[in-house]
């Protein structure tokens, strides 16, 4: 029953997309050929349907009946108007079929290969979904929104600030057919992409090259595993290729109505993945170049904004950054720290590879560092340069190059998928008419991409077989998923954590299989703060290590500011202040409510330097550099003779000067002596760290056995103030004992 529900839900969603796309294409006067109508209408309809679902989510009316009614309406309207029907097949003028026998053989080989991989893909997509990103954030967010019947403001997971254009289509599929329905919808995009490449080949008079290029894309191992999971990369590639396709359709007859479709799809590119927005640049550039007019380009941009602006607005409203999780330096906010973004994007640019010249081999044959491979056949990618000699080839290479530029922002293999349609066509159009070469290439690609062969030369992320028993639920879903430890962790959380409680983890779990909110240590400002407190609990180097004091002449001050003058020697070195204390006559000045505290950067964290906790610290969350500051306005003139900062052991380059304001309110440096001494904290930093987590609503911790610090949490759980609720499948779930946090211990 579950298997049928998943299939039906996916089919229903796909039909709605197609129906809506067919309706719109007809209204725009698009004359689509039989072979191109399904892929182009489906993707166009997906764009429009995604916007309708966005509206439903924004209105908080995402209930199953509403979603079903919406899908039904799309299908019914297309049927009623007759737009659903495929046009009658016509012999394309530029189709140049091969001689009978060769064509027959060509068809047989390509047909067998395509059918075999379709079976492989269908059962993988249909099987219970447990892909890393699919079962965590892509479907985690869908599941979460459905529980809330609409969007929720989530500030603790920066992945949820990406645009979610493809995930919007997973919403109705998931609501009806659960997790694998979403993966099947993504698989539909894979089919659409292959069909679009095939159709484009026919349209430009290169049917054999088109067929072979479609298979190059379709059989690629990374495309196979990504396109059969609830990811979004293949869908994004399909949307990007559709922009190109509609622009080419427009170029044939210059009907400006077709630019509406292209504009909507270019905007949908942004909704699917930020970097895909490069297709708007391509479209605008192409149209402007061809027409030498600005009006068509404005039309394109205008329609694209209807798709992109809702996502920009969502991020602006929810996390004060319209392009979150990027550009936090320009749109500072307390939810996403600049340094985390910087370190994360730096990591994405290399995936740990020290030499990017190894990328061609890595993404084609090895695939272990960049998490997947295109297949060895793509070592022949330089063949695409032959396309420079033909007009059609140059048309393909331009978007290919544009898309390739964005790849270097994230060198994971799957981020090359959007290039593949263009690249594959460009590689093969020069071989049109050399059917044996095309057939050999496809057979080679098929063999080297088949799971049993793949596992002989790589351990990269790829499909491993045909899980037909799991797909048909002959093996019950619970049993199939239960073999995956990560699923068991999610269920452990579900069993032990009460609804509404937060769970903190260091490395994530499949959120789509728990209804509890999971905070991953690095995906949000709050998470970073809790993670930092926990690390300080046990890592000596991160604990207060140094007292740095400014000795002032006995005088009165209203404002005092400590300014950083040092420069970091490594990018992740920050300025950290556990406590900033003012003294007079050997006694600390009580922190009066009238005091006003400020810092730059990270003004939101300034209170952590004034909370009397050694397990918290104000952190710059930017690389330590001159000009950062932390300031106190005492509200009135007060006698101060010492300003004391407690610094961490992990800020080797921090150097500071003290400033106060003059009569005009300008900051002026105080040339005063300084004192340095080492410190050691006598209290329990572990317990203090737990207190901080508890204050932020985090009372549960899922720690995997190989997590950073796992042995300390296990060995010192009493000192942390935690009780271990369960240990299974390589992970422990701990709960905070509130009675150990209150009443507090003796204050020395």
């Amino acid at each position: 029953m579950k298997a049928l529900a998943a299939l039906a839900a996916a089919a229903f969603t796909v039909m709605a997309c197609y129906g809506l796309g067919a309706l719109l294409a007809a209204r725009l006067g698009a004359r689509l050929r039989r072979d191109e109508k399904f892929p182009l209408a489906f993707v166009l309809g997906a764009a429009v349907l995604h916007l309708a679902i966005f509206a439903v989510m924004a209105l908080q009316i995402a209930y199953k009946p509403v979603l079903i009614a919406m899908l039904s309406g799309c299908v019914a309207a297309a049927l009623a108007t007759g737009d659903w029907r495929l046009p009658v097949a016509e012999d394309a003028e530029r189709d140049r079929p091969l001689p009978g026998a060769i064509r027959y053989l060509f068809g047989i080989i390509f047909g067998i290969v395509a059918a075999a991989f379709t079976v492989l893909y269908l059962f993988n997509a249909w099987a219970p979904e447990i892909s890393p990103d699919g079962s965590s954030y892509h479907l985690g967010l869908v599941s979460r929104y459905l529980r809330a019947h609409g969007f929720e403001r989530v500030t603790t997971n920066m992945l949820l600030t990406f645009s979610e254009g493809v995930e919007m289509l997973y919403v109705p599929a998931f609501a009806i057919g659960r997790h694998s329905a979403a993966a099947l919808v993504h698989f539909a995009f894979l089919i659409a992409l292959a069909l679009a490449v095939l159709a484009y080949g026919k349209r430009i008079g290169k049917p054999q090259a088109g067929a072979a290029a479609a298979l190059l894309v379709y059989l690629s191992p990374i495309v196979g595993i990504d396109g059969t999971a609830a990811y979004t990369d293949v869908a994004t590639a399909a949307i990007m290729f559709s922009v190109f396709y509609w622009i080419q359709l427009w170029d044939e007859n210059r009907d400006s109505r077709l630019l509406i479709a292209a504009g909507l799809l270019a905007g949908y590119c942004y909704a699917a993945k930020y970097t895909a927005f490069v297709m708007l640049v391509y479209a605008v550039g192409f149209v402007a170049w061809r027409t030498r007019k600005w009006r068509p380009a404005v039309l394109l941009v205008g329609w694209s904004l209807t798709m992109a602006v809702p996502w920009i607005a969502k991020d602006w409203i929810y996390v004060r950054n319209p392009v979150a999780p990027f550009a936090n330096q320009w749109f500072p906010n307390p939810y996403l720290y600049v340094l985390i973004e910087k370190l994360w994007t730096a990591r994405m640019r290399t995936y740990g590879l020290t030499n990017l010249w190894t990328l061609p081999l890595e993404v084609t044959i090895r695939g272990e560092a960049t998490q997947g491979l295109l297949g060895p056949v793509f070592l022949a990618a330089p063949l695409a340069l032959l396309a420079l000699w033909s007009r059609e080839g140059r048309k393909l290479l331009i978007p290919c190059a544009l898309v390739l530029i964005t790849y270097f922002g994230n060198v994971g293999t799957r981020f090359l998928i959007p290039c593949l349609p263009f690249l594959s066509l460009a590689m093969l159009i020069a071989l049109e008419g050399i059917a044996p070469a095309l057939a050999l290439l496809i057979v080679f690609h098929a063999v080297t991409s088949w799971p049993t062969v793949l596992m002989r030369y790589t351990h990269a992320w790829s499909l491993s077989g045909i899980p037909y028993k799991a797909a048909l639920r002959i093996i019950p879903e619970e049993e199939y998923l239960g073999a995956h430890p990560e699923y068991q962790w999610a269920r452990m959380v579900e069993r032990n954590v009460p609804p509404g409680k937060l769970v903190f983890t260091l490395s994530g779990l499949p959120d789509a299989y728990t209804t509890r909110e999971v905070l991953i240590s690095y995906w949000g400002g709050l998470n970073n703060d809790v993670g930092d407190a926990l690390n300080m609990g046990w890592i000596k180097a991160w604990q207060p290590a140094r007292l740095s004091s400014f000795i002032l002449p006995d005088s009165k001050y209203r404002r005092l500011r400590v300014v950083q003058t040092g420069t970091a020697t490594i990018p992740d070195e920050q300025w950290n202040i556990h406590e900033m204390r003012l003294y007079h006559g050997g006694s600390e000045l009580p922190r009066r409510p009238e005091w006003r505290l400020q810092a730059s950067p990270n003004p939101w964290g300034v209170q952590r330097a004034f909370d009397n906790s050694e397990a918290t610290r104000w952190r710059s969350w930017e690389t330590l550099r001159p000009g950062m500051w932390i300031a106190i306005d005492l509200g009135r003139d007060e006698a101060v003779d010492r300003v004391q900062l407690e610094l961490s052991g992990d800020e080797w380059d921090a150097k500071m000067r003290l400033e106060t304001t003059d009569a005009q309110g300008r900051w002026v440096a105080l040339d005063v002596p300084t004192e340095e001494r080492t410190v050691r904290y006598s209290g329990s930093l572990r317990r203090a760290a737990t207190y901080e987590a508890h204050l932020r609503g985090v009372d549960y911790f899922l720690i995997k056995d190989d997590d950073f610090g796992a042995s300390d949490y296990a060995e010192w759980s009493g000192d942390w103030g935690w009780t271990r609720l369960e240990h299974a499948h390589g992970a422990s779930l701990y709960k905070v004992n509130p009675q150990q946090l209150s009443p507090p211990g003796v204050n020395p």
Partner: protein
């Protein structure tokens, strides 16, 4: 420009000081050498240790500097003191004798005939301590330096560290 302005608008108003956090006591340690420079040193002082830290490492004592600690065991503990007889005080006092105490039990008595930096260590009988209970450690000097001017503070010796160390403790 609009976006950038919005970005600037994100910055918050200055904050008041937050609620002050409680102190959480650490679990009892097997042993602890209390360095005079430790940030938490002063709460451990019982008597005769100056509040002013000198040279970031040491403090003047009076006649019988005393501290308290909270060991969680009474097994294999070593009384350990790191100190110095100052040349300036020695000129007046001459050779001095130091008596070392654990919970007022005399552990040993040693005569020092020259000013210098010194270290004294000796095992503590287990029956003098109760695991998990406070213990006092002291070192008494027989002659203190008396300042020439009236009302000045008498000085004993220079104390760098005093505490209990567990023998054969594993290094973490």
């Amino acid at each position: 420009m609009c976006g950038l302005l919005c970005g600037c608008g994100n910055l918050p108003e200055p904050y008041p000081p937050p609620a002050q956090r409680p102190f959480f006591e650490a679990p009892a340690e097997a042993g602890r050498i209390l360095n005079m420079s430790d940030a938490d040193a002063e709460p451990h002082f019982v008597q005769d240790i100056d509040t002013a830290l000198q040279g970031n490492t040491w403090r003047w004592t009076g006649k019988r500097p005393t501290i308290h600690l909270h060991p969680n065991t009474n097994q294999k503990l070593l009384y350990s003191i790191d100190f110095a007889i100052a040349g300036s005080t020695f000129q007046q006092t001459g050779p001095v004798t130091l008596s070392f105490f654990v919970n007022d039990h005399l552990l040993d008595r040693v005569r020092y005939a020259a000013p210098d930096r010194r270290r004294f260590q000796k095992p503590v009988p287990a029956e003098w301590l109760e695991p998990g209970e406070n213990v006092t450690l002291a070192a008494e000097i027989d002659k203190v330096w008396t300042p020439p001017q009236p009302g000045g503070k008498p000085l004993g010796f220079i104390l760098v560290a005093l505490g209990l160390e567990q023998q054969d403790a594993e290094q973490k």
